[in-house]
């Protein structure tokens, strides 16, 4: 990331001739952020599936369309997988799951929310809510 920023800073100049360090850092930062978002999404999926009582991700139509849209637009960085997506306007991550458990469903959902919140917090997205939609049990 550092070398990327440096390269862009050296090769890019604004219209008044000044080095576009700020703009370049912004673009490089954006790329880095997108890249880390892709990793974050994979981590989230793994974390969700590891929670005891979670049978699997069960996408609704909305998250399926979002995942397909991200693939068609070649945006692997987007937080959009089958059954897990980010709703930016509501500042929340939506997780759609099927539960297979004898435990109270609310307890499993709470465990799931805690797990996802930890992953988000570690990635610097602690401000996001975690909405769990139980599709089947």
């Amino acid at each position: 990331m550092t070398s990327d920023s440096t390269r862009i800073s050296e090769s890019t100049r604004t219209s008044d001739g000044a080095p576009a360090a700020a703009a370049a850092t912004g673009r490089a930062g954006e790329r880095a952020s997108r890249s880390s978002t892709g990793v974050l999404t994979d981590d989230l999926v793994q974390a969700v599936l590891a929670v005891p009582g979670v049978g699997g991700l069960e996408p609704g139509v909305t998250s399926t369309l979002r995942a397909l849209d991200a693939r068609l637009r070649r945006r692997p960085d987007a937080v959009a997988r089958y059954g897990l997506h980010l709703e930016e306007a509501q500042a929340r991550v939506v997780v759609e799951v099927g539960l297979r458990t004898q435990e109270p469903l609310r307890q499993v959902v709470e465990d799931l929310q805690s797990t996802v919140a930890e992953v988000l917090e570690d990635a610097g997205h602690g401000e996001l809510d975690v909405l769990v939609r139980v599709q089947s049990a």
């Binding site: 139509v61 089958y82 109270p104 929310q113 939609r133 089947s136």
Partner: protein, 196 residues
């Protein structure tokens, strides 16, 4: 791309003379450049159409993606709308109608001599607006009607009032434990009798 500070050139590389100097804040695009761009887009359309007609996978959604979409649509119909339930201590949650009915069916079936047949749920009028605009979202369940069958000749069949109370209690406990909801009313309707 031409900029206002660079002299425009014709196809032979000679500067193009303008009668009056004009200053632009945005880069100028010549008629030739516009025509070239239009031609490029036209050919891209033609190429896309040809590839699509020949079934080239690079311009069509994969069969796997289409299958995933079809499955999710069917699953959504099977699961029904999402229902509002109180949030947990860690965040909001909702459940599908299918999940709600599964919880009710399991609860009824735990009562000896009773078997769940159907359940009808009335929901509080709560719009999708309170849930970020998700269409099809229902409000909190406020009344439940359970239709059950009772085993013939069983102890439960000899005291139907008590059996109904047991069913009501089991359903109320399950709804509270699993979903955090306490409906105003849980009616039990004994609709049938069954052997074994």
């Amino acid at each position: 791309m031409q900029t206002p500070h660079e002299p425009e050139e014709n196809a032979q590389g000679a500067p193009i003379e303008h009668e009056l100097p004009v200053e632009h804040e945005l880069p100028v695009e010549t008629a030739e450049q516009s025509a070239a761009y239009d031609s490029l887009i036209r050919s891209a359309h033609q190429e896309w159409a040809a590839l699509e007609k020949s079934g080239d996978p690079s311009v069509s959604v994969s069969s796997g993606a289409l299958a995933a979409l079809k499955r999710s649509v069917r699953a959504e119909v099977r699961r029904g709308a999402q229902i509002s339930v109180p949030p947990t201590r860690r965040g909001p949650m909702s459940v599908s109608e299918l999940t709600l009915h599964t919880v009710l069916r399991r609860a009824v079936d735990t009562v000896p001599d009773a078997r769940s047949l159907r359940a009808r749920v009335e929901y509080a009028e709560e719009g999708a607006a309170s849930h970020g605009g998700w269409s099809g979202e229902r409000g909190m369940p406020r009344a439940v009607t359970l239709r059950i069958s009772v085993q013939l000749g069983s102890p439960g069949a000899r005291d139907l009032v008590r059996l109904a109370e047991d069913v009501r209690g089991a359903a109320a406990a399950a709804l509270h434990r699993d979903l955090g909801i306490d409906p105003d009313r849980i009616d039990v309707h004994i609709e049938d009798l069954h052997d074994q």
